[in-house]
Amino acid sequence: MFKWLKSFACPKELAAAGVLGMNRRNFDVISKYNKRCLYPLVDDKVKTKELANKVGINTPGLIGKIEYQHEAKNILDIIKGRSEFVIKPAQGSGGKGVLVIKDYHDEIFVTASGRELSYNEVYQHISNILSGLYSLGGKYDTAIIEELVHFSNIFKDYSYQGVPDVRVIVYKGFPAMAMTRLPTKASGGRANLHQGAIGVGLDISTGKALHGVCRDVPISVQPDTGADLMKIEVPFWREHLIIGALAYEMTGLGYLGADIVLDANRGPMMLELNARPGLAIQIANGIGLKNRLQEIDNTYPSGLTAEQRVDFVLQKRAK
């Protein structure tokens, strides 16, 4: 009984550790700095992509999109001549409805996990996307087909299938906290922490691993590959942060999460943005977010460009 009680922290202890709770995030941060009218910019991936290309953020190339049920049969024309691509809902969240096709030939689709799908099954999947199965609130959605990211070998040993990515929390344009999310066998190759992916907190000034967590439990070794998570060091770190900082300029969201993948050939690319990024990043970093945000509120300068902000953070945190 007492042991069970001990698994709870005292609110005071959490406050002392600077932990940001869900209620405070919603009330003090999101409802203040994220205007509702800006949400569509990040909820719709087609819009996000267009905006990103305008401000010069790299994103996976758009192959085509399908808006109406009767267009679903066009999929074969759209992908003609390609052997790999990703089909995803434009308004999906949490990696839902993302279909990664590694190998396509003669109307046979091989997914990232090696499963073979027929044309009918893929057609069905697109149809589900259009009817709003994966979208927020079940609205009619658009299916987008984009280029497959060839993620850098850097992450090869650390993730089981799927696409590992880097999540940067950006507050008022300043990168505040970062982690990398590594798919595992348990997460079904998806990079979502609540599905069982690993989160590894990254030092905001260097991109080096700080602390690992899986299902809210600290972890230091990738369970599927046995690789030492603490050896992770994300290359092109400054470029990662600049993508995050630019996302602020691009959307106007005061508190956002930028999901960035590292392509072996094209460098860091923005996958999507999130206007309500989760709080698990604190556990992955072993540090509370509240103090960071307060520090940015109180001591960080305003009126800087994206690059200046990133450099300011790199310098400030390097000490």
């Binding site: 609110p11 002392a16 009817s131 599905q195």
Partner: protein
Amino acid sequence: MLKQIFSVRKILSIFLLLSIAYAVYCIYYKVEYWGFHFAPRQNADVWSIEAHISFDPTGEPIKVSLTTPRDNDAFKILEENVIAEGYRIRKNKASSRLILSSEAKSEPQNIYYKIQLFDNIDTRGKVRASAPEEPQAPVFDEQKMAAAKQLLQLAQKQEGDTVSQIIRLLNEEPLQPAVQSYLPVKLNQQIMVEIITDLLAIKKIPSRTARGFRLQESKKSLTPDLMIEAYIDGLWKIYDIKTGKKGLPDNFILFQRGGQSLIDVEGGENSVIRFSVLKSITSSMKLAGKRAKISDQEQLYEYSIYNLPLAQQNTLKWLSIFPLAILIIVLMRNVVGLQTMGTFTPMLLAMSLVKTGFVAGMLCFAIIMTLGLSIRFVMSKFNLLLVPRISAVVIFVILIMQSLTIVGYKFDFNIAQSAVFFPIIIMAWIIERASITWEEDGALNAGREIFFSMIVAIATYFVISNEYIRHIMFAFNELNLVILFLVMLLGTYTGYRLMELKRFRPLVKK
């Protein structure tokens, strides 16, 4: 920024305090001037009994004499009404009879006598009375007397006191031969009472007839039941002439005591008296109305819920418990931090549990969920589109409910029949969401969501099914205003959720 939050919170706090003050004042007012109670019982049962007397006049002056119930400990008379056009009405207090008289009339006559009784459940007791005269033994011939004495002999083998023994013997199944030959072939309540009275008279126990109603809801017209009262140890004790049970049955109102007739009509023939009884739980609020009238606050009362027709009152009574259920949902989600399927789904589940009863409802829910999920898993192989798929699940849920009800009826298994009370669409969405969560986030997450939803539903159920809470929320509906501001104030709560204390525990520095 901080200043802004503070002021919002401050404003809401002030409103909350104001609403609390208002609610306290209203509660005081309602208790003091309208006679509302905190406990549901005292405010509850009000029975209205209507006696409809009809007869054909014979052309002579008419005089109708009707027994009326006395104000007694068990029931208080709230209102007494006689609708009798052209009659002089007089009430004989001593004998508790209503006497109506008029000139000779020609058309068939209809007289209505209506009373409202308030069930004063706490003070129900035995009636103390002065000793009656010792009864005279009935005049029987020798043979009958011998048979009667034999019966009294036999009766001693039955359970209970002397009176109970006799009644039980006469009602035994099957009757003993001696009893059978003693009883007349045509037996009705009246004759039964006479036989019992005679037998008791032989035993020198004074007794008398009592007439009353078993107050039953939804029974439109009824005939008065006869009971027998025996004078034992200085008290009149009442017995059921069928079971021999001592004491007034539940919800039994005595209309008449002693041997007088129920109704006498002079100057009329073919007289018929019909009774109808209506139980109105909420019309006890009318009692408040009457009090309000007396104390000159009618105006206020006319604009309150309690002045509405009963049907509307019942709907509003159901509605006025919602805010409390909503408060629980808000607490569970924002303060405890439980993730549930859909925001108000647990509340709707709790509402159906109230209708089905707890165990029956839970069993039914489990059956519907299990069957629904298995069917949904088979269906996920067909890869149907969203809207047709969820529609199919809805139809499956309907079919499951139908078969549960039919099977339940067939095997007289009442639990299954409560299936129809579950909201069909909500059940279908729970199944759909559970199966999608299951496929995407694994069984663990799906199970957890269902589990948390059920916990919230059960907690809500126990609060809203409580008679006291329901009564208080309806009788003192200003409390809903307090809940409103409480919910809004919770909207500014920025503290940690209970679940976060566990989740972020690793962040605490040692």
